[in-house]
């Protein structure tokens, strides 16, 4: 039987991480087929509600990725996002979710190799944790 493949939601900024993912693709870099990508205009657009909602709908993990600090297309979107994530992450750990389920990264449009590495890393982290159970809504 093949190894369990986690399902991870990757929320990627249009201007950098999404292009980074594209570069990884056109450069034929190898990374696990575990992510489902949602393209957003800016990491500042990410409402913590999106993250909670994806965990509730059964995603095993969430990756949010935006432009490096200082590189935001909208000047300050990722700084505001960073504050949100800085509070969200400890809060999720506090209520007892596994720390690695939700992760954040900065990937530029030129960092295709970094994108592949980040996806490999988060897939390994989540494979270690196993399927999400805690916040998943059973219907």
């Amino acid at each position: 039987m093949s190894e369990w493949q986690p399902r991870i939601l990757a929320i990627l900024c249009n201007w950098c991480s999404y292009a980074g993912a594209d570069l990884a693709g056109v450069s034929r870099m190898q990374y696990p087929p575990s992510i489902r990508v949602v393209r957003i205009p800016c990491s500042g657009r990410v409402d913590p509600l999106f993250i909670m909602k994806s965990l509730q709908s059964g995603f095993d993990g969430v990756l949010v990725s935006g432009c490096h600090p200082g590189d935001c297309h909208y000047i300050s979107g990722n700084y505001v996002a960073r504050r949100k994530f800085a509070v969200l992450k400890p809060l999720l750990e506090f209520i007892g979710l596994e720390p690695n389920r939700v992760q954040f990264s900065w990937i530029s449009a030129g960092e295709g190799d970094r994108f592949a590495k980040v996806v490999t890393k988060i897939t390994e982290d989540i494979r270690e944790l196993g399927p999400a159970t805690r916040l998943v809504k059973k219907t």
Partner: protein, 321 residues
Amino acid sequence: MNTTNELRKSIKALIAEKKVDLFLAWEKGSLPLTATPLFVSTEDQADRAVFDVTCGNNLSIYFTKDRKQFANRKVGIAVKGCDARSVVLNILEKQIQRENVVIVGVPCDGVLDRKKVLAKTDGREVLELIDNGETVTVKGNGFDLLLNRNEILSSSCLACTYPDAQEYDVFIGDARGEVPNESRLKEIHDFQALSASERWDKTRNEYERCIRCYACRNVCPSCYCNVCFVDQNDPKWIGSTCDYTDTLIFHVIRNLHVAGRCVECGACQRACPMDIDLLMLNRKVAMEVKDRFGDIAGLDINGKPAMSDFREDEKQKFIMG
């Protein structure tokens, strides 16, 4: 009683001098354990104002939840320490203008939690409550109890750091200053020492009781979106059932919405019919905001709410390498 008299005097003076058109204070409630908000617009009405242990209402919520009343009017408001911080936040968030408010600080020794009083009387109805200062007398059919004030204070008050208004135009009586309160974060540190699965079980047990009445949201001075995310139905973010995942998401997101804005007045916890420890998550978020960004909600009238601000050089260890 003294505070009450002083409060009445200053309301009368403000109205007589036409410094305010309307004054928000408290009056004796129709039920003995809860004061009722009082809107004073004439000097005579000022004699109904009181301030005692039952005045838990954070009156600043009227600024945001009853906007029309206050548009372009000069309004006076009686505030405890926490209420004053809410008023400051309202000003920072441009919900009211500083020049349109006259803030009257009252010396606060904490307000009671109805549920704690009823636990002391074994659920028997309280017909009369007398605030003696250090102690509180509660009377009902066939009982007469003398209770220590600390036994019935709201848990937010027991852990209060800023009992006095930090921003005011008039302050009545003696200020207590900043009270260093170590018990405020003790519960959080104890909780953090548990393992993740223990924390999860406790959180789940606590929030599973939530019946989603939204009393916590309605009473919160920082919750004033025109349409709350739980009330939206396109997209419908939160299921309508009491499934614990839905309730927990509601509470976590509400906490994040009030991150850097929660003044820990404890109104949510006092309003909760299921006696859920709602303040714990609020305090945890406040602790993170203070540690990371150095902000305390509603203290600095020249500042900016933490989550609408940023610095370029903030720590970002939590970002993947």
